[in-house]
């Protein structure tokens, strides 16, 4: 029988791991900073709102200004850290680490949900075309800024991702029912179509080719706190609500008719699960590009460790995904030349997954 204490202790342990990995990551880079200094600089970066002021801001991508209330923040801690170290940690490394953690968190959670939803161990967050849609939107914005509906690459990718998800869902839905197999096939077909579209745009992208390809491989360079502010709330809220539906996910594994007999409103639950995982995936992919393998491998590994119950699997997968992406992104950026993180995740993740396969530890859900 499910024990909430087990979920709590696993989650606490994985959170500690994430903090350790994050501090270790922040210590590494062209400039070596010892972990104690990193910890102090990180604490210095924590600020709490102490007041409200009004100012104008420009809405990104849409190009008009508006007046918004802005919170004023004041630092809580004041440890002694040299100015350059504080700057490196606070404005260069921490936002990047936070975004890596956020995206890993989202992708692993969405992958867990999709594998359960489709009762298919090959499912990953992009199975219904979310990543392809994001890539198409981003490449369009990079290669044809004039033609793309939104000049911001992030926004264009986000809209492309969600638009694709809704399109696939709409195609697969008939008479109020959405058969999972139809959804899968519609996703595959749309992905193939978008793949062709992306290839066409790349061929005609000229000088923007390199930028577009790097985006598509997944990258976390030049991350700002603004990216984190966009992706983190979406990820936390989305995974929280998905967690509330963990028991439904378990019951859905028995098949939709059994789930109905056990009191699950099947179609509504499916729509909710699909919409939420699409949104958190889209938010992650929009800011970080297409990062593969996190959403496929991490849920499998965690299923081996904690079992198939989504009440424990979902939070632990999300936290483990966060650590995994922070660690792989560290590898991606500390080498002599930075490589897109998507390359590293696949480079590390694929052999590990094959190792599990050969050991016959991954055979089904």
């Amino acid at each position: 029988m499910y024990r909430p204490g087990r979920t709590a202790s696993w989650s606490a342990g994985l959170t500690v791991l994430l903090v350790v990995v994050a501090l270790g990551s922040a210590a590494l880079g062209p400039v070596r900073i010892d972990p104690i200094t990193v910890a102090m600089a990180a604490l210095n970066a924590i600020a709490v709102p102490t007041g409200v002021s009004t100012g104008t801001t420009t809405v990104p991508g849409l190009g008009f200004s508006t007046t918004v209330p802005t919170l004023e923040f004041t630092g809580v801690f004041d440890f002694e850290v040299t100015g350059s170290h504080q700057l490196i940690v606070e404005t260069i490394r921490l936002p990047r680490i936070a975004l890596a953690a956020t995206v890993g968190f989202s992708l692993a959670a969405a992958g867990t949900v999709m594998q359960g939803f489709f009762r298919n161990p090959l499912a990953d967050p992009s199975i219904i075309g979310v990543s392809s849609g994001a890539a198409a939107g981003a490449v369009a914005a990079i290669a044809f800024p004039v033609l793309a509906p939104f000049s911001s690459v992030h926004l264009s990718a986000f809209v492309g991702a969600l638009g694709t998800a809704f399109l696939v869902y709409g195609i697969a839905t008939e008479g109020g029912r959405t058969p999972v197999a139809t959804l899968l096939l519609a996703g595959v077909a749309i992905q193939a179509f978008l793949g062709a579209l992306i290839s066409y745009m790349l061929v005609h992208s000229g000088d923007d080719l390199r930028r577009a390809v790097v985006w598509m491989m997944g990258h976390l360079s030049n991350t700002t706190w603004g990216d984190v502010r966009f992706a983190l709330p979406v990820a936390l809220l989305g995974v929280f609500v998905l967690g509330a539906y963990a028991r439904e996910l378990n019951v859905l594994l028995l098949g939709e008719e059994d789930a109905h007999h056990l009191g699950v409103d099947v179609e509504r639950t499916k729509l909710l699960l699909l919409a939420l995982s699409s949104v958190i995936t889209a938010a992650g992919v929009a800011v970080a590009g297409v990062i593969g393998f996190v959403g496929l491998v991490v849920p499998h590994i965690m299923r081996l460790i904690v079992g198939p119950d989504h009440r424990i699997l979902l939070p632990t997968s999300a936290l483990a995904g966060a650590s995994f992406l922070v660690a792989t992104d560290t590898i991606a950026r500390i080498g002599p030349a930075e490589v897109p993180v998507g390359i590293v995740t696949a480079f590390v993740g694929a052999p590990f997954f094959l190792f599990l396969l050969v050991r016959r530890e991954v055979h089904s859900l």
């Binding site: 019951v251 028995l254 056990l262 699950v264 409103d265 089904s364």
Partner: protein
């Protein structure tokens, strides 16, 4: 729940009841007996199930047409019927999984299609025919899923939930498996786990779709015993059961479904009649009473095609044409010599083919004699002429003459394990005139009672036994030997051969031994294509 409270009231009542159960069982240790477990679950009030005018189609294909069925609280109703009759569809419509085109289903006077799946899942638990359980959830967690409709979104399992799960595991004898992954236990064990899940759901009504389909005979009985117990302790159950004997044994009433409509509803003995089965299953079957359980037992016989082929053979012999549209005028005459269960079984099959039958000599009380008496008593049968003789007495001259006359008049003579004590030899002597007797041989001759050691032990017994044996072997050698279930094919062959002089085209029939498939009924193309029908096939759903 006899009153219909608001959901929250129901919830509160349930919780209070479960807490009471918990405090009652909490003081008990693992030594809690079955009886105590019984009282713990009697808190459930069985629900009524009312199906009214239900029609449902898959696309253009109508599956259920105007089906009505009323199940009283605390009743166990079995849904029987041939494949494709709509049994599973009916259950799925009752559970709320399928929306009907017309008609209503009310469980405990609640329209299951008008309420949320959560509300209906508190009324009806379902044990489906197959459940996809190919992932490594421990058995206990699967049973815990039965508690889903009773729990709020963020709650952890309450003591009541845990108690309900443990009780369900106990009742289905799956407690020992509780920590094993569900994908590592056997199919029969899985079926019990799914039943445990339904029990943990604690609903007043239970639907089971072929709960015994994948089980061996031992677990079939065990499972239905458990369902019976659940019904007796306060649940209403409706089960699709393909095994008619088991359905008759455990259900209060049966609903016979055929072609998407209810053919008949009533007690097993009123529903399972030869005529009803013939209509619903398009099969020939005899219904007898199982001497051990005292409930109905259905024996399916080869299908109507073979039966018709026999009549056609006779017809062809007399009219010399292939006019199969013309219904048979005179049934073939068959005489049966045999005793015991083999002869009784053969007699039932022959009677089902509506042949003009005679049997004998038989002694009163013999299984064959009882079968003959029962068949004579049935309205649908023309009756079986029976030559009765006294046990252990020599064959009287009258009986001998009658037997000779019967054999002479018969179009075919069948021997089925004849064992008539010291008289066997004299009886078989009369068969010498039959060119091609049909021989059903289920027991070694020497093992038959009275074959070698006579009833009264006279000195001539051993010699008589030897003579009988020689004559019997001779019959076997020149006759057509068939297993009991293929006796109709054997008779068909014998009949077609007897008409050989008038139909030279059939000259190339097998010279002897077991009949071959495609020549069993040469006059009928359909049956020739079908080949022999395996026994009991039509009783399988």
């Amino acid at each position: 729940m006899t009153e219909s409270p608001t959901p929250s009231d129901a919830d509160a009542g349930e919780r209070a009841r479960e807490n009471a159960v918990e405090s009652a069982t909490g003081t008990e240790t693992e030594s809690a007996t079955a009886a105590e477990t019984e009282t713990a679950t009697t808190a459930l009030e069985p629900a009524s199930i009312a199906v009214d005018g239900l029609s449902l189609s898959f696309g253009e294909v109508p599956v259920l047409e105007n089906v009505s069925l009323s199940v009283e609280p605390g009743e166990f109703v079995g849904v029987v019927g041939p494949n494709g009759a709509g049994k599973t569809t009916l259950l799925r419509a009752i559970s709320g999984a399928l929306e009907p085109d017309a008609g209503t289903v009310a469980v405990d006077e609640v329209d299951v299609h008008g309420v949320s799946s959560r509300a209906s899942s508190r009324l009806v638990a379902v044990v489906p025919q197959d459940t996809a359980l190919s992932f490594a959830f421990p058995v206990r967690d699967v049973v815990e899923m039965g508690r889903h409709p009773h729990r709020s979104r963020f709650s952890s399992p309450t003591p009541a939930d845990r108690a309900a799960v443990e009780r369900a595991l106990e009742r289905t004898r799956t407690a020992k498996l509780a920590d094993r992954p569900i994908d590592e236990i056997s199919g029969g064990q899985r079926q019990r786990v799914v039943l445990a899940r339904a029990i943990a759901q604690e609903t007043p009504a239970l639907l089971l779709d072929e709960p015994t389909a994948s089980l061996d005979v031992n677990h079939q009985v065990e499972t239905l015993e458990l369902v019976r117990e659940l019904v007796d302790s306060g649940r209403t159950a409706v089960a699709a059961i393909h095994d008619l004997d088991l359905a008759a044994r455990y259900c209060d009433r049966l609903a016979l479904l055929a072609d998407g409509a209810v053919h008949d509803v009533g007690t097993p003995s009123s529903v399972l009649t030869t005529d009803a089965l013939a209509e619903a299953f398009d099969a020939t079957a005899t219904v007898t009473t199982n001497p051990i359980t005292g409930t109905e037992t259905v024996t399916a016989l080869p299908d109507a095609t073979v039966r018709d082929s026999i009549a056609t053979d006779v017809e062809d012999g007399s009219h010399d044409n292939e006019d199969t549209d013309n219904p048979r005028s005179t049934p073939a005459r068959v005489h049966l010599i045999g005793t015991g269960t083999a002869a009784a079984s053969v007699l039932s099959r022959l009677a089902a083919a509506e042949l003009d039958l005679s049997v004998g000599p038989v002694t009163p009380g013999d299984a064959a004699e009882e079968a003959a008496r029962r068949l004579t008593g049935e309205s649908s049968s023309a009756g079986v002429e029976t030559i009765r003789v006294d046990p252990f007495a020599p064959l009287s001259a009258d009986a001998r003459d009658e037997l000779a006359a019967r054999i002479a008049a018969a179009d075919a003579t069948v021997l089925a394990d004849p064992a008539l004590g010291g008289e066997t030899g004299r009886v078989l002597e009369l068969v010498a005139s039959v060119e091609r007797p049909v021989v059903v041989d289920t027991q070694r001759f020497a093992d038959r009672s009275g074959a070698s050691t006579g009833g009264e032990g006279t000195t001539s017994e051993a010699g008589a036994g030897k003579v009988a044996r020689t004559r019997y072997e001779a019959c076997r050698k020149r006759g057509i030997e068939v297993p009991p279930e293929s006796v109709l094919e054997g008779v068909a062959t014998a009949l077609s051969e007897s008409g050989r002089t008038e139909r030279p085209s059939d000259a190339g029939l097998p010279a002897g031994g077991t009949i071959s498939d495609d020549k069993g009924a040469p006059a009928n193309a359909d049956s020739a294509a079908d080949g022999p029908t395996p026994p009991h096939e039509s009783s399988d759903d």
